[in-house]
């Protein structure tokens, strides 16, 4: 590329600012750039990573101050995926809220929905039927596996283990197929609703879950064969991005990252919800407190989730999946038809030609929604990335007065400077990936 072409291209120019000279790197021109920088006079180099960069795990921007290859400071900048989910919730009724929160952390939609619904149910003072609780647990654990698989896959991709990416996404696909069979959608399902779940597990779905539980252990063994003994993988992750328990607690970091530092804090055990106290499972921990430990903990958590799913399937007893109270339970029923998931024809027949009251209830609930007594609650569940908390405030109306999501991605990302400063630039990527942030959740 000649100098004149360079000047004409707005994206490849260099310019002088009050902060110093600014270069824009677009790929393939790194050698050219380094050749033009005098290493003696330019000891300190500020590199802007992202927000569009394949290895920053989404639209995360990292401003790194480098001395040679050593990172002197990292400043994470977030907000590029802010969609105003919390504000939007205030303009929709309580049931419609599930369709918004599910879009926050798009790799863990079931967790967002469940945390939100637990908050609404606590405000209402209702408990959901047992079958709904069991279905929620099964769906959450499937979702935890799919989320951890993406964590392994993307970490693998970012550290150069591209086969892991292919395998991780391949096996996640099986879970998304289960979700599709159960609720018609692969992501953002709005399946968990205040008062229960949108519809019962279909027989086909249960069959697919059983097949998956039988299949997955072999997949995990394959990943271990691929990565655990791999010298490059070990070099890239062991002793990298160290964060101990006191660091985690000060920075509010929870989830696999906290457990990788040795503290067995898992809300499923310590503050159970949805009947988790009935399930027999372990909380995997590790003493490494590094990226390697997080990898090991995530793999072990997948194994524990498989145990929980098997137990959940055994606990499934026939019964309702939505509260009996017709003034709260979402009336519309879905059914699988020839052309995919849609309105249940039985339900339409019921409201249109059998029961005037059912039609009125349907109309009132769908247009206006139910009223929730005034007050505020905080509910928290163990999402794949840590504690997902919902602070919900009601003013007694049919719409949320305020909903705040305590998003683990948002909180955990604060720890990137603590993980990465003083290390090498390549370890910033490994450290960031080991936190497994999802920007949709972080920015909401």
């Amino acid at each position: 590329m000649t100098a004149t072409e360079n000047a004409a291209d707005a994206y490849a120019a260099e310019r002088d600012t009050t902060e110093g000279r600014v270069y824009t790197v677009t790929g393939g021109d790194w050698d050219e750039l380094v050749a033009s920088v005098d290493p003696v006079s330019e000891e300190r180099l500020i590199v802007n990573l992202g927000p569009q960069h394949p290895s920053t795990h989404g639209v995360l921007r990292l401003v790194c101050e480098l001395e040679g290859e050593t990172v002197r400071s990292v400043r994470p900048i977030v907000g590029y995926l802010h969609t105003g989910i919390e504000k939007n919730l205030e303009y929709r009724n309580w049931t419609q809220g599930t369709t918004f929160v599910t879009r926050a952390d798009y790799l863990a939609p079931i967790f967002n929905e469940t945390a939100y619904c637990l908050a609404v149910e606590k405000l209402l003072g209702i408990t959901v039927p047992r079958r709904a609780d069991v279905i929620r647990v099964i769906m959450m654990e499937l979702n935890r596996i799919s989320s951890h698989l993406v964590a392994l896959a993307t970490t693998g991709m970012e550290l150069g283990a591209l086969s892991m990416m292919i395998y991780g996404f391949r096996d996640r696909e099986k879970i998304l197929d289960i979700f599709e069979a159960v609720c018609g959608l692969r992501m953002n399902m709005a399946y968990v609703r205040p008062g229960g779940v949108a519809q019962d597990l279909p027989r086909e779905g249960i069959k697919m879950i059983r097949e998956f539980v039988d299949y997955m252990p072999q997949g995990l063994d394959d990943y271990e064969g691929l990565l655990t003994g791999n010298a490059i993988w070990q070099e890239r992750t062991q002793g990298v991005a160290y964060l101990d328990v006191s660091g985690c607690l000060a920075l509010g970091v929870t989830g696999p990252v906290l457990r990788s530092a040795g503290l067995a804090w898992d809300l499923r055990k310590t503050m159970p919800y949805c009947g988790y106290e009935e399930y027999d499972f372990e909380v995997p921990t590790h003493n490494g407190a590094d990226a390697w430990a997080r990898y090991v903990v995530r793999l072990d958590e997948i194994r524990e989730s498989l145990k929980i799913i098997s137990q959940g399937l055994d606990k499934l007893e026939p019964g309702p999946v939505m509260v009996e109270d017709k003034k709260i339970a979402w009336p519309a029923q879905l059914a699988l038809g020839a052309d995919g998931m849609g309105n249940s024809l039985n339900h339409i027949r019921h409201i249109m030609s059998q029961s005037m009251e059912a039609l009125i209830h349907h109309f009132k609930l769908v247009t206006e929604g139910f009223r929730v007594p005034a007050g505020q609650v905080y509910t928290a569940i163990e999402a794949p990335r840590g504690e997902l908390g919902i602070h919900a405030v009601s003013d007694g109306g049919t719409r949320p007065f305020r909903v705040h999501m305590r998003e683990p991605s948002f909180i955990n990302l604060q720890s990137i400077p603590a993980l990465a400063e003083g290390g090498l630039l390549a370890d910033v990527i490994a450290g960031g990936a080991s936190l497994d942030p999802v920007m949709g959740g972080c920015d909401r």
């Binding site: 920075l251 505020q376 109306g397 305020r402």
Partner: protein, 231 residues
């Protein structure tokens, strides 16, 4: 708005009906189309009144927590103590938040090691309308507690707790970004989710949903509420 950190200036169009305030009627019908009479119904906003303390004893570990806090800071530290749906809320003064948090973290009978969440709530009918809530967890005793403080628009200043709980850093920035609460002692209180030059505080109740025309590469995108009816 960056030149006006207190945020006392107008933060949105005046004709926007705030949500969560006094409600009139049902379905928004008030003219002759209303044959039910419900259109004349007026409901006061339940969030408007003063905060009423729950009579003590509060039950469970709540009495213990409140007593330990009062022992450290005196009886006046708790402005109100509310127990609702099995959750304890302690209302405190905005200029004592960091002191209280330090006690909550370090006192041996409290040990709230983890600050889960810091966020705001806007109650437009109250004089001190901007509330900031802190959710703390004691891993030692497996307890949760909520601290709450309230400030008015003319002086929306709350003590920062970043010294006690570093995790509050980004969360206080978010609360500033969304509500315009200024955290005194925060190392770098800037916007975090909204663009740096954004005007107004989006999560306030008098700030509209949408209503802001966005300019992108010379084209003006009308606000969503002018594209569809959301009433």
């Amino acid at each position: 708005m960056s030149t006006d950190p207190t945020g006392t200036g107008a933060s949105g169009p005046d004709d926007v009906q705030p949500v969560g305030m006094q409600r009139k009627g049902l379905f928004g019908v008030t003219d002759s189309g209303d044959t039910s009479g419900f259109g004349g119904l007026v409901q006061a906003a339940p969030t408007a009144g003063e905060i009423v303390s729950t009579p003590e004893p509060l039950g469970g570990y709540f009495d213990e927590v409140v007593a330990a806090l009062r022992e450290a800071h005196g009886d006046e530290i708790t402005r109100a103590v509310v127990v609702d749906r099995g959750e304890l809320t302690i209302h405190i003064a905005p200029d004592r938040v960091a002191d209280v948090c330090k006690t909550m973290r370090d006192d041996e009978s409290l040990r709230f090691e983890l600050c889960n969440s810091v966020s705001g709530v806007d109650y437009p009918d109250q004089r001190n309308r901007l509330h900031v809530t802190y959710h703390l967890t004691s891993m030692t005793y497996r307890r949760r507690v909520r601290l709450e403080t309230a400030v008015g628009l003319e002086h929306p200043t709350v003590q920062s707790v970043t010294e006690v709980y570093p995790t509050a850093d980004w969360q206080e920035r978010e609360t500033y970004d969304m509500f315009g609460v200024v955290f005194e002692g925060h190392p770098h209180l800037t916007r975090i989710l909204m663009p740096d030059d954004w005007e107004g505080f989006p999560q306030r109740k008098d700030y509209p949903l949408g209503g802001i025309a966005v300019e992108y590469k010379g084209a003006h995108i009308p606000p969503p509420d002018e594209r569809r009816a959301y009433k």
